[in-house]
């Protein structure tokens, strides 16, 4: 007994880093859409980095804490209020027994994370607490346990350890960065005609409202292939840019299927995925081409911070 969903949101869930090692059986990885913001919440709370967090989309669930403790909200700014009083993001927040957390308005970004200074006391399935399509429902009780015995002292320690520079860097990287989204070319690149490739990198795209945890459909120029769009299915990843037979593009996200049979034009590099996941519907962005060496160096730099 610990956290109760008073009113369910649109598509909220418990997520961690997801599960690997079972994709050959068709079992999806799942996990946080924006792993960077989720890791940051756990880092601010000095939790193990893999501790499950509550992933909120908008409209978000209304959450009641059945015990006092410490939480931290990162990612999107949905204007969080605790008992109708506004609270800060990216900071440890003290909550009392029966406090209610609500999100008022999607001001910045698309996905908020609520980290909890506690242990999630529920069985994993295949090494992960992330379950495909398991949305939180009204009346669900999430078994977080082992809150700090003295939250006031714990708050002091956490506040002293707060790394403001890191928080600002992560936040800016995700929310104040209007650079193109970088992709590495995929196997079907060679089957796209040159004009279409030019369009792909010179015309703005937006994420359509039909987005969900499986994929983000894009609105923008149609892309055509020189050959029929039918390939023998092969593995796809989070961030795969798939071309559908009608010329539309979709980017596969955390709940993606393990294999795909449509043209694979490229994959968004890992460091740009949190920023892409958080982009709001209808905001224009462009794609650009990355190189493998740079993509991996940037990834190492980003994740070395945790």
């Amino acid at each position: 007994m610990s956290i109760k969903i008073l009113h369910k949101g649109l598509a909220d869930s418990i997520q961690d880093n997801g599960r690997y090692g079972f994709q050959h059986l068709g079992i999806q990885p799942n996990g946080c859409m924006d792993l960077l913001s989720a890791s940051l919440a756990n880092s601010i709370l000095q939790n193990d980095i893999h501790t499950p967090v509550i992933e909120l989309h908008f409209p978000s669930s209304q959450i009641q804490f059945l015990e006092g403790g410490i939480i931290c909200i990162t990612g999107a700014n949905f204007v969080p209020v605790l008992n109708e009083k506004s609270i800060a993001l990216y900071k440890p927040i003290l909550v009392k027994k029966n406090d209610v957390l609500s999100m008022l308005q999607p001001l910045e970004g698309s996905i908020a994370y609520v980290g909890i200074k506690a242990v999630y006391d529920s069985p994993k399935w295949l090494n992960s607490h992330s379950f495909n399509a398991a949305k939180l429902k009204t009346e669900d009780v999430l078994p977080f346990s082992m809150y700090p015995s003295d939250p006031i002292i714990a708050m002091q320690t956490l506040n002293e350890k707060l790394n403001h520079a890191l928080i600002e860097q992560v936040h800016n990287n995700i929310f104040s960065n209007t650079n193109p989204i970088r992709i590495l070319p995929g196997p079907a690149w060679q089957d796209v005609n040159e004009n279409a490739l030019y369009e792909l990198f010179n015309t703005p795209f937006t994420i359509s409202a039909q987005r969900n945890r499986m994929g983000y459909p894009l609105t923008g120029p149609k892309v055509n292939l020189n050959i029929p769009n039918a390939y023998l299915s092969s593995a796809v990843t989070r961030g795969t840019l798939q071309l559908l037979p009608n010329g539309d593009l979709i980017v596969l996200m955390a709940d993606h299927q393990t294999i795909g049979g449509y043209a694979n034009l490229g994959q968004i590099i890992l460091v740009d995925l949190p920023r892409f996941a958080q982009m709001k519907t209808g905001i224009s962005f462009k794609f650009s081409v990355a190189n493998l060496e740079t993509a991996q160096t940037l990834f190492r730099t980003m994740y070395a911070t945790f």
Partner: protein
């Protein structure tokens, strides 16, 4: 990175995956190679390899950048070295296996009307009797080409040209777990109740996906399957979907 070693093309997929691809065809010999390479890579328990995913003619390795590769050396050089080493070991080890060395799963299917929702449809479209459809569907050994779409969904082929049929243009809202269907030249089994567009010709009493960690998917890529017909009574006695 994009290079060739023997019959393999090796390329990076994004910044944390590498693909070993053979020529794109649906064939036992291709699956046999994928299966052997898959087993070799898994047996080496290489640090940082998260997933190895075979499908039709490709084997994709998903890796953790920080564990699989060194930050001090060129990425492409490291990936080339890894792939050439693994393939030379593979070439030395790989024995030409006979098709009969692969186990065949004999899978019961009830083709009676209560389960065979689309068999009449195929019968009309292809001008062939239902009895002939069942006879043709059970007369061949199929290769498992891929597992995906849903956990445990099994893609197999190829069925006889005479029972080839396109998917439903509009998928059904729910297809029952165990349903056996045809799409094009492929035949497949639905692991769980789900929406789906394949033309359903029967149902197996076997549970082909069980979330219990020791069970999971019944079949793997490279396995061989042959169906045999059972009646409703036998279906009920074998039914694992309860």
């Amino acid at each position: 990175m994009h290079h060739k070693i023997h019959n393999w093309t090796i390329y990076s997929l994004g910044d944390h995956a590498i693909v070993f691809a053979l020529a794109p065809k649906m064939h036992f010999s291709v699956l046999q190679k994928l299966k052997q390479l898959h087993e070799l890579i898994v047996s080496k328990k290489i640090n940082g390899i998260l997933d190895v995913i075979p499908s039709y003619h490709t084997l994709t390795i998903i890796y953790d950048i920080t564990l699989f590769l060194s930050p001090t050396q060129n990425v492409n050089n490291q990936l080339q070295l890894f792939s050439s080493q693994i393939l030379s070991e593979f070439e030395n080890k790989a024995l030409e296996q006979n098709i009969n060395d692969f186990p065949i799963y004999k899978v019961p299917v009830c083709y009676e009307n209560i389960f065979a929702l689309d068999i009449e449809n195929i019968s009309k479209a292809n001008q062939i009797s239902c009895q002939e459809i069942i006879q043709l569907h059970t007369s061949k050994q199929y290769d498992v080409y891929s597992i995906g779409f849903l956990p445990g969904f099994t893609y197999m082929g190829s069925v006889d040209e005479k029972i080839k049929i396109t998917r439903h243009p509009k998928p059904r809202n729910e297809v029952a777990a165990g349903s056996v269907g045809i799409a094009g030249l492929q035949t497949g089994i639905y692991p769980t109740n789900s929406p789906g567009g394949w033309q359903i010709i029967g149902k197996t009493p076997w549970k082909i996906f069980d979330p219990h960690p020791n069970k999971l998917a019944k079949f793997k890529v490279g396995d061989r399957v042959q169906f045999y017909a059972i009646d409703k009574e036998e279906f009920d006695s074998l039914n694992e979907h309860l």
